[in-house]
Amino acid sequence: MTFFSRLLHLDRLESEAIYILREAAAQSRNPALLFSGGKDSAVLLHLALKAFRPERLPFPLLHVDTGHNFEGVTQFRDETAARLGERLVVAHVEESIQRGSVRLASPTASRNAAQAVTLLEAIETHGFDLLLGGARRDEDKARAKERVFSHRDAFGAWNPKSQRPELWDLYNGRLQTGENFRVFPLSNWTELDIWTYIEREKIALPSLYFAHVRPVVRDGDYWRPVTPVTPAAEGQLVENRLVRFRTVGDMTCTCPIESNAADVSAIIAETRLSTLSERGATRMDDKVNEAAMERRKREGYF
């Protein structure tokens, strides 16, 4: 005999995420919510309001800032936290570089992988024992393997070969000292779910998610943005193209796609027809090798 609830698709996902957020808060001493200003974390923050208002959020917002941000994203991050009256903790990769815990091959090298180091340092400094993140299983084949409550050892490492069993929706959030959890309330959401929810809930996003003209250069399958840290090489043709970002991350590894979708409903229409996955179309960090995400997660990445 199987059982079902009558909730509509998005209502089911929303309610599940709220349930997970409340479990995460109830089962931890000192949690934080990872908030970068990107669309998934904006949805996660919106769901956190639904889970905890009229009270204040039972956790601060945490951003691991590579310092290589696209224009408008950090302002959006700061303004959102201020508007909601919630505490924002920013951990800077730059400070890890100063401390010497992160060494880059060159001053303009990607700081994406270094985020794991800074994140682990922030966990230690603030004593966080649980981090809520907006990662989704449909993003990547290693993420597809991860539990909702993902256990990390004292080194912050994910061990995909011996994850805790996770039965039904009975989350076991118990830890030994020094360990932590990464909890993913959006595990079962797809990119299309995120956009249809943003439309329904009228969630504000940074402007670079919508079509705009930007200087880019062709790099294989990608349009690589021309920025202060990723200037065009000599002789490379810089073009002004109408583009939008499907994901927003470090400037050194995130590429926009050509698009004239200027609002959420146009993005939803494009997403329905897309033949490229979200990360496949935009993220150079995953192209390094087949298991790039898995390796980063083993090192403590979220």
Binding site: R137, A142, L170, N188
Partner: protein, 423 residues
């Protein structure tokens, strides 16, 4: 997928190692146009691929870990999402190795239907493998609908005689487990025959394709029609407004419905109170039902906390229950030790008083006598709890009839449990 009501079907694969579970999932996704072109490209360039030149190793759609690809096995559960116009699917690929049974149980506990695969070419006189029996048993105990797929039919030249032999074995297995009238489909996951669409390879097969069978699953029982059950996640204190100077109880309605003005009962003492308000972030509701996350306010101060239950309708609480357990911990059960029983949001100290029987996976017989419970054992036990727990039977209400046992020293989830009776 539209935002309109779509049926959700959650499928888990089951069966022995190398019977083709991951390949089947890859095939379903591929033939349903649920794979993106960059993902298909990544498959054709993948290291460790076992496919012939120009072909794809579809098992790599879900076997995404380095060590899985290297060894050609599935280690842990992968979740994938796709939708047809009628149905939205979550497909959960579970490992076949006995060593990773706890991961299969994890996947099965989040599914409605299990596809149990059998390799048609590797049966000797119809004898099913131990893992096939174990997985069918687990799926059935967890209340899943079981569908059998007889795979690799090409290796036996689509012989109807071989299929009938396997079918007979599967029917015997089903009878001994109490599975009534299961669908049994001959398929070839690698080529896609009878997976998404019907194949001409077996003219003698009159049934539907596997995906059609999965899509036409009956809806089952509407959780909102069951008695009201609500496990408190969090007590909300609202200060500042005199009107709101009271406590609310945040949680997700496990089953049933509740309306403003209705009487509910708190905990095992069944103290009655009335619902005064039902709130969400931006709405006040008159009524709410199974699946909704809400905050309930009561007319009286009822002194309820996280872990306490609000119920309506008949509710039995007991300090002794019988339950099926799947033992998931490397550490064997120690009769002297106490465990934490987590049911809903409650954590209660519990003890396994006795093992009534353990199932022998070779013939599914029930072995009696006091024995150690060890990794992957499936047993019926008698449990004692420090305080009374709600004793809804799992088969009547899987949301409240399920629990886990946690080892309080290691924090490991030691067992998955299903309440079968109260004493």
């Amino acid at each position: 997928m539209t935002q309109a009501q779509t049926k959700l079907v959650r499928i888990v694969t089951a069966g022995s190692v190398d019977d083709g579970k991951s390949t089947l999932i890859g095939r379903i996704l591929h033939d349903s146009q649920a794979l993106m072109s960059d993902q298909v490209d990544a498959l054709s360039n993948a290291r460790f691929s076992r496919a012939e030149e120009g072909d794809l190793d579809l098992s790599f759609v879900t076997d995404g870990l380095e060590s899985e690809r290297e060894q050609g096995i599935t280690i842990d559960v992968a979740y994938r999402y796709f939708a047809t116009p009628q149905t939205s699917f979550i497909v959960i690929d579970a490992p076949g190795h006995e060593q990773y049974t706890r991961n299969m149980v994890t996947g099965a506990s989040n599914a409605d239907v299990a596809i149990v695969l059998v390799d048609a070419s590797r049966l000797h006189q119809g004898a099913l493998k131990v893992q096939t029996r174990r997985h069918a048993t687990i799926a059935h105990l967890l209340g899943l609908k079981v569908v059998f797929a007889v795979n690799k039919m090409d290796l036996v030249n689509w012989s109807q005689k071989v299929f009938l032999e396997v079918e007979e074995s599967l029917r015997r297995l089903s009878r001994s487990l109490g599975i009534t009238n299961p669908a049994i489909v001959p398929i070839n996951a690698r080529s896609g025959d009878n997976v998404v669409s019907k194949s001409h390879a077996a003219s003698w097969y009159e049934g539907a394709s596997l995906l059609d069978i999965l899509q036409s699953q009956g809806e089952g029982t509407d959780l909102s029609e069951l008695p009201f059950r609500f496990s408190i996640q969090r007590v909300v204190r609202v200060d500042g407004h005199t009107r709101d100077a009271q406590r609310g109880y945040a949680g997700r309605i496990a089953s049933g419905q509740v309306a403003v003005g209705e009487e509910v009962f708190v905990g095992p003492n069944r103290r009655p109170t009335k619902i005064s308000r039902i709130e969400t972030y931006d709405q006040s509701l008159e009524r709410a039902e199974a699946g909704q996350s809400v905050t309930l306010y009561t007319e009286d101060e009822v002194d309820a906390a996280r872990g306490d239950l609000l119920t309506r309708g008949e509710a039995t609480y007991a300090k002794r229950v019988t339950a099926d357990l799947c033992w998931l911990d490397d550490q064997v059960w120690d009769p002297r030790r106490r465990y934490l029983l987590q049911q809903g949001t409650a954590n209660i100290t519990a003890k396994i008083e006795s093992v009534l029987h353990i199932r022998d996976m070779r013939d599914l017989s029930e072995v009696r006598g006091d024995q150690a419970l060890k990794l992957n054992d499936i047993a019926l036990v008698q449990l004692q709890t420090q305080t009374p727990i709600l004793a809804d039977l799992f088969q009547d209400n899987p949301k409240t009839g399920a629990f886990i046992l946690i080892d309080p020293d290691t924090n490991q989830t030691a067992a998955a449990g299903m309440i079968r009776g109260a004493t």
